[in-house]
Amino acid sequence: MDKKIFKYILFDLLRNKFILIYSIILMVMSFSIIYIGHDSSKAVITILNLILFIIPLICLIFGTIHFYNSREFIQFLLTQPVNRKNIFRAEYLALSVSLSLGFLIGVGFPVMLYGLSLSGLYLIVTGISLTFIFTALAFLSSVLNKDKVKGIGLSIIIWLYLTIIFDGLVFLVIYFFNDYPIDRFIIILTSLNPIDLGRILMLLQVDVSALMGFTGATFQKFFGSILGKAVSILFMLLWIILPLFISVRIFKKTNF
């Protein structure tokens, strides 16, 4: 990877007002949630709901727009003797790092200031992983479509699918097949969605009492174990690596 390109894009992004606005909005929201709510664990839950909703959306939309806007810059870079893979990686890393920085300042800073608990730490880790995952997905949808409108459209569909539709489908599966022993199947099913994975890892911190109920205990046993946590992290990593791998392959062959 070319460090010069990475640095250049990163500083260019950090100078961009969007990241600044993103972190300010997040910070205002976090501080207001923390100061309105009286309890730290309740604040963490509310912030969790917020980041599960906002981070994927922002990363997808901004990532896609950024990629299309950098098209000319990429074309220019390609005239130079640089590897295509390196350009793509530099673009991806610069964007995810800058968005993560925005998140760290916007959410991590207030949470840490308020007193960092284990659940707060999980919150920050979840947020950063989601940033990396959805930036990768944004790049995938950008390289899949040459047309900007189509690319953004695909991003929005990915977001809708992973935040709402997927859970709806899981819900239907659970509802219709609850006469069968589907606990394990559900564990596998939810692992297929990074947002659900992040959410469940957080649940284990804040809702343990409820998870100790009849079926919750099975989930708690799995996701609470070291194996479960390792599997969750592995799936999260896969959600970064797979889209990137496909995108790089397409990007290499793209005719600009």
Partner: protein
């Protein structure tokens, strides 16, 4: 007049003389070396003082009105042979002993101290270790069980007994005892007018406190922690449960407080903290639940459809995953003036109570009740969506299960 007083005085001196009796001292170098001998020698009103040592004795039957006092907790080792003390006389007092190693028996309820058909007994400051049943009262009245430390090593429910077992008793006082490692820490059956104050029951296999068919009892300032299934109160009337703490009862069939067929009772000023279910209510009515704090429970209160006329007022609901859950779409209970941390209404007239009523039952909690697997979707966007829509236009959740005047701020108890 003076004569009358002096008569009374004389009578008192005479009575005192009889009541005080002799002191029989038991130790390895004394005249009396065994407790059994000491009991045989004694007459009503005597005191047996046991010096510190280890005594390998068992089956000590007390049929005289005597007092047994241990100095610096002498150890009575039953060596898993038979029972410890069996009291068959009124006004017997046992203090300051350490009794250990009671064997498990499937035919008899072997216990460290058993009071059978006797009144006004006192069991105080004893340490009971590795017991099957520790203190067993049958048909005993007006007894005091105080400051005893009881620990067993129960492994399965079928092969274990209870810490304090009361059967057919009245007016029993249980104060500041600690019970652990039994099937039930405290067990009451057919007990009336009992008082239980300041006891600590923890790590028992089944219930910390379990009572059936026991009317008019009072439970105050007790602490129940990490018991297999929490505390169970069944088939009783006029129960008063105040200022107790129910903590860390985790598991699918674990409840802070389980109320089954309870009527006309009071649950006040208790703390329910980190239980899978705080209060589980079944077939119970006319219970006042007030000034309690439900904190960090999975389900703060689970009220089944066969409960009615229960009043939930002035409670604090904080950080619970579900505040109220019910299996019925009808509601016959009354909720008012509670503080719900999930309440999102407003208070325009600034009188401290919210202007919009609060619905503590969410549609999702009812779904989880029917389809437990759906707990995995907790706090997902779709669930929030379902709940918001249902709250705006209730179709499935009990329409009358409503808190008309929810508090805006956490209620401060005195």
């Amino acid at each position: 007049m003076t004569a009358k007083i002096s008569y009374i005085f004389l009578f008192l001196i005479f009575f005192y003389d009889v009541a005080s009796g002799r002191d029989i001292i038991v130790c390895k170098n004394c005249e009396t070396v065994s407790i059994k001998d000491a009991i045989r020698q004694s007459i009503d009103g005597d005191r047996i003082i046991i010096k510190k040592d280890i005594y390998n004795e068992n089956n000590l039957v007390i049929d005289k009105q005597i007092e047994i006092i241990g100095e610096d907790h002498p150890v009575i080792d039953l060596e898993y042979k038979y029972q410890g003390f069996l009291i068959q006389k009124d006004h017997v007092k046992i203090t300051g002993l350490e009794i250990r190693n009671i064997s498990v028996n499937y035919m008899e309820d072997l216990s460290a101290i058993k009071i059978d058909n006797s009144d006004h007994c006192v069991i105080e400051n004893n340490i009971l270790k590795d017991t099957f049943f520790a203190i067993y009262l049958a048909k005993a009245n007006f007894c005091l069980i105080k400051n005893n430390k009881i620990s067993g090593q129960a492994k399965t429910e079928t092969s274990s007994g209870n810490g304090v077992h009361l059967w057919k008793c009245t007016n029993i006082n249980l104060e500041y005892n600690e019970a652990e490692g039994h099937r039930d820490g405290f067990y009451f059956e057919f007990v009336t007018k009992g008082t239980m104050t300041g006891n600590y029951s923890h790590n028992n296999l089944r219930y910390g406190l379990h009572f059936m068919f026991s009317d008019s009892n009072v439970y105050r300032d007790n602490l129940f922690r990490e018991n297999g299934a929490g505390v169970a109160v069944m088939y009783s009337r006029n129960i008063e449960m105040t200022d107790n703490k129910f903590e860390d009862n985790w598991g699918p069939a674990s409840y802070g407080l389980l109320l089954k067929d309870i009527t006309r009772s009071l649950v006040k000023g208790n703390l329910f903290y980190k239980n899978t279910t705080g209060i589980y209510m079944e077939g119970s009515d006319q219970i006042n639940v007030e000034n309690n704090e439900f904190n960090s429970n999975g389900w703060a209160t689970k009220i089944l459809g066969n409960c009615m006329d229960n009043k939930f007022t002035q409670n604090n609901y904080l950080n619970n995953t579900f505040d109220v859950s019910s299996n019925s779409s009808k509601n016959a209970n009354f909720y008012s003036g509670n503080y719900w941390d999930k309440y999102d209404g407003y208070d325009l007239d600034k009188n401290g109570t919210g202007d919009v009523p609060y619905r503590p039952v969410s549609l999702y909690s009812m779904i989880v009740d029917k389809v437990p697997e759906s707990i995995i979707l907790l706090r997902s966007f779709i669930v929030e969506l379902i709940d918001v829509t249902e709250k705006a236009m209730p179709v499935i959740i009990p329409e009358t299960l409503i808190d008309e005047s929810p508090e805006m701020n956490k209620i401060k108890f005195n």
